[in-house]
Structure formats: C-alpha cells, structure tokens
C-alpha cells in the first residue's frame, strides 16, 4: 500500500467526519441560548421551570450545560469576547469574583422587570452584576431515632458535642462553601467576626474528639445512616429531599442564632446573547420560582412567591437566616483555609 497525497487528505477528511459537526467551537447562535445547571433533579427543574417558559415565549431554544460554577467561570474567563455560555449559575463568592473581574453585565429593572421583586441586598451582594434566585440555610440536621432533644442553637451544639453527648458530622474544608455556611456561621453565632475567627477554631478544638468530616453531601447522609454520627451541619433543602425520598428518621433545625444563607446567584457574561435577559427574567418570575421551589425544597428570592402549605413549613424564611458578607469572606478565605489546614487538617 502506498500513501499518496490524495489518500492522506481522504484520511484527514474521514477523521474530521468522525469528530463530527459538533467539533466546532461552541459559539453563541442568534436564536440559541446556552444556559447552565447543576446535575440531576436540578437540571430537570431548570428545564421545566425556566427553559420551557423561555422557549414558549421567545420561540428561541436553550441548551443546558451541566457542571459547576468554577468550570463555567473559567470558560468565560478564557473566552471573554465570545463567551460559550450566556447565563451562569454561580456560588455567591464566585459571583463576587466574576463581578470584580468585570466579566458580567449589570442587572437593572429596565432589562429585568422581575428584578423589582427581588430584595435589593441580593443584587448588591453580587455588586450589581447578578442576583440571587434560590437559597438554602445551613443548620443542624439530626437522626430523630438517636437524638430526642436536638440542640436548638449553635452554642448548644458546640457544648453538647464537646461534652461527648453526640458525635457530629461537619463539612470538611474540601467542600466549597464550608468557609461560608460553617466557619462564618458558627463563628458569627459564637461572637466572632470576619477578622476574628478564634471563636470558631476554639470551638472546633473543644469538639475535635467527637467530630467526623464529610467531603460531600452524600457522605453526611451516610454518616447518619450508618450511625457514625448522630447529627451535624447540613442544609435544610437537602434534608427535606431525603424526607421526600422516604427517610423518615431525619429532621432539621435552623439554629436560634440563624443559619447562614447559602444562595445561588445568576449572572450574564458580558458579550453574551441579549436573549439571556428574557431567560433571566423567567428565572426571576414568581410563578416559575414557585414551581422551582416545590421541586427542590429550597427557598426562592422573589417576594411575590407564595409557597404551598407543605413547603412553607419547610423553607427557612429570609428573616430567620443570616446573609453572609461574601465579599469580606472572599478577602480572608485563604487565611481561614490555611488556619484550618494547620489546626484541623481535614
């Protein structure tokens, strides 16, 4: 067999064919929007609650990219002139970083009429370049079969775990939002400030013999199910999801000091399609948010939303949760992680 130019080109064409049409870079198309979602039930909820009404109203189509905020932000940072994504779901700290990097567009009521019903503090927390649309609260989740009288506050949680009454499962530093919903929340409840986290680390030192650490939310559930832990720090919405799956021995308490609000932000990258405004307006619409909350068991931010009776008893009201100072936490986050690694190590 001889390899001539024609055969070489033919082989090249075949290889290109194998790669297929989608081998071309993802680019914003005029009538297609690239939006983002977490996986599993989240993705289905995004499709049903936001994508479907958006497509029905505009006649455009939306593709849903699964993944996580760090991945999406890196993709936008790498392609700021032609971002591959039109709408980002972000953690609050990354939303601040994206806003500070001037990668995102400003949110205004002119562009997003439904923004008028979102508390201004949520848009301010994203430096005006995004807002929160969904939130959960970190509190105390416990096994009712083992814990008959659960601690009602963070302070009681620390004292009773330190005394050996309970073994607690707490988030490890590997979990992205640990600095916010655990370090800041517990420190704040114990009288600390963003610049003084001694109360948190002193409490951890007291509890250290009775702690196990979870690296991901599924670990927490396994700790409780296996009896390795009696209670721990977890989210309200995730607890209720377990209850809906038939696990009747689990319950949640929002501590008296107030748990930390762990919100989900939405942002539009600069140079992304203008269709994104229509989609974002659907994300902020009360009827769509209401449906979204029912599926995910988490609170939503539009003040016009009326929860069902079942959900109303589960969702922690905004007034009973603390909004962490995400921008300030971002400033000291590395110091906290460094101190955690030195003093706790997990």
């Amino acid at each position: 067999m001889t390899l001539n130019r024609r055969k070489f080109l033919g082989t090249g064409a075949a290889a290109a064919g194998l790669i297929g049409l989608n081998g071309m870079p993802l680019r914003a198309q005029q009538n297609t929007l690239n939006v983002t979602a977490y996986g599993g039930v989240w993705e289905q909820a995004i499709r049903d609650c936001f994508v479907a009404p958006f497509e029905a109203k505009t006649g455009a189509t939306a593709t849903v990219s699964l993944g996580g905020p760090a991945q999406w932000l890196a993709q936008v940072e790498a392609n700021p002139e032609n971002p591959p994504l039109d709408v980002l779901i972000m953690t609050p700290d990354l939303a601040v970083i994206a806003a500070e990097g001037d990668l995102m567009d400003d949110f205004t009521v002119e562009k997003l009429p439904n923004l008028a019903n979102i508390p201004q503090e949520f848009t301010d927390a994203c430096l005006g370049k995004g807002t929160y649309f969904d939130y959960g609260v970190g509190g105390i989740t416990y096994n009712k079969q083992v814990v008959s009288d659960a601690p009602k506050s963070f302070a009681a949680f620390v004292d009773r775990v330190a005394s050996g009454e309970f073994v607690a499962s707490v988030p490890s530093i590997q979990y992205g939002v640990t600095p916010v919903f655990f370090i800041w929340a517990l420190n704040n409840a114990l009288g600390g400030t963003v610049d003084n986290v001694d109360p948190f680390f002193e409490a951890m030192a007291k509890m250290k013999d009775n702690l196990v650490f979870w690296a991901g939310p599924n670990d927490f559930f396994n700790h409780l199910a296996s009896g390795e832990a009696d209670l721990g720090i977890y989210f309200d919405g995730r607890t209720w999801n377990h209850v809906d799956q038939g696990i009747d021995w689990i319950d949640f308490i929002n501590p008296e000091e107030g748990g930390a609000m762990t919100a989900v932000a939405i942002q539009k990258p600069k140079n992304a399609s203008d269709l994104a405004w229509d989609y974002l307006n659907e994300v902020l619409a009360p009827e769509n948010q209401s449906k979204f909350a029912e599926i995910l068991n988490y609170g939503v931010t539009n003040t016009e939303v009326v929860y069902s009776e079942k959900l109303a008893s589960r969702v922690t009201p905004l007034s009973e949760a603390n909004l962490p100072p995400y921008a300030d936490i971002a400033r000291v986050r590395n110091e906290w992680v460094d101190r955690w690694n030195r003093e706790i190590g997990m």
């Binding site: 081998g23 996986g39 993944g67 591959p84 599924n218 296996s226």
Partner: protein, 263 residues
Amino acid sequence: MRLTDWALWLFTVAFFIFMILPIAVVVVISFTSAGFAAFPIPGWSLKWFARIFEYEPFIDSLWVSLKLAVVATVASCVLGIPAALYLSRSRSGWATTITTFLLSPLSMPMIVIGFASLFFLSWMGFGISFLALAIVHTVICLPYVIRTVAAVYRAVPPAYEEAAMILGASRFRTFQEVTLPLIRPGIAAGSLFSFLTSFDNLPVSYFFGSAQTNTLPVVMLAYMEHQFDPSIAALSTLQLALAVIALVVADRLYGIEKMTVAT
C-alpha cells in the same frame, strides 16, 4: 507449605479482599430497591439501571465519552507510534529530551493540564469544542502509546529490519511486514491504556464541558452533587461490566498476556 508461603498467601488474599470489597459493595447497592445509597440493602430492584436510560445526559455523555476515547486513541497512535519508533533508535542527545517532553503529561497534575489547555486552546480559537477536547485528550493519552511501543521496539533487534532491507524491502514494506507485527503488543497495550485514560478522565474534561461536549465522568460528578439516588452505583456497575466484557473480548481475540508482556 512453609510459614512464609502461608503468610504470603494470606497477605495476597487479604489484599485481594481489600481491593475487591468496595467494588462489590457498589455493585450490590446498584441493585437496591431503596431510593438512597446505603448498605446493606433493604431489597432488590433493577430500577436504577432503568434510570440510567431515562436520564438523557447519561446516555448523551456516554456517547461523547466513547467517541472521544476512540478519537484520542487513534490520534495518539497516529502521532505516538512514529515518534516512539524514531526516538527508540535515535542516538541523538535530543532524543532523551524529546521523549521526556512527550511523556511529561504523566507527571503533571491533570487539573493543571486542563486549566492551562482551556486558556491556550481558547486563545488559539478552538474554544469549548469537541475538537479542543480531542486535542487535550490526545496530549494525555500520547505518553501511554509512546511508552508501550518504545518498550517493545527497543527489545526488537535492529538486525530484523536490516535483513528485510538488505533483501530489497522498501522502508514502508519493512515497517508493514517486519516492524508492525513485532510492535503490535505494544500498540494494543498502549491503545487500551489510552482508551481507558480518556474514557475515565475527569479533571481535563471538566474544563471543556458544555451541553454538547460533556463526558460521562463530568455528568456523573454533576449528578452526584445534587442527587442522592443509587443510579451512579448502577452506572458504575454498567461501566465495570463493559470493561470486563472488553477485556474478555480482547483476551479471546488477542490474549491479555501479550499486552502485559508489552508493558
């Protein structure tokens, strides 16, 4: 049997159990009737296997992963085999440097390769695309082909090829009739490693994920973070079954021993 033989036998069995037991637990959990992952299981069901086929992103991403693994493996062979052949016989001082460079992805953290490649390929205009993903996967698969082919080729005496050429065979015919049959175990082993490396890769694929290019590991991670059901265990069992079937087929068609000799 001597005491040391007994000790070695016991150690081997214990190590085997240590390796197999976690996998066995995952397989058992994939057949649970419960809506959450826990062991022991309360009853048996196949519903989580059905869930794999109901959840479209699993199937779409499985297809992307398979296509990507094939493209990366073929590209690694096309680029890696000639490089391995040349570098194995070269006496130039540069050969060692180039070999080290080509093998360097093995010693670099994958997440660094993924992050750097995202910015580099975006700067080159490839953006977030299957093509970009295939390029990066080829980079990380290439060392496996080069290493295995070079290992086999170094053991082949140059006299075989010299004899063929003395008898009048062209360079290409010598490669086709003499070299290729001798290095085939290296190519087979390198291809197998390449395919599995690409198919299982998460850190690199993560940065190139989009609605069109998400691979199975990326979708599995995204699913696991927000869903508590055992469908991931079912998917892992299915992957395991596919890997075992592939190995059995490879063994019947070619012989696993020949591949292990090559490595």
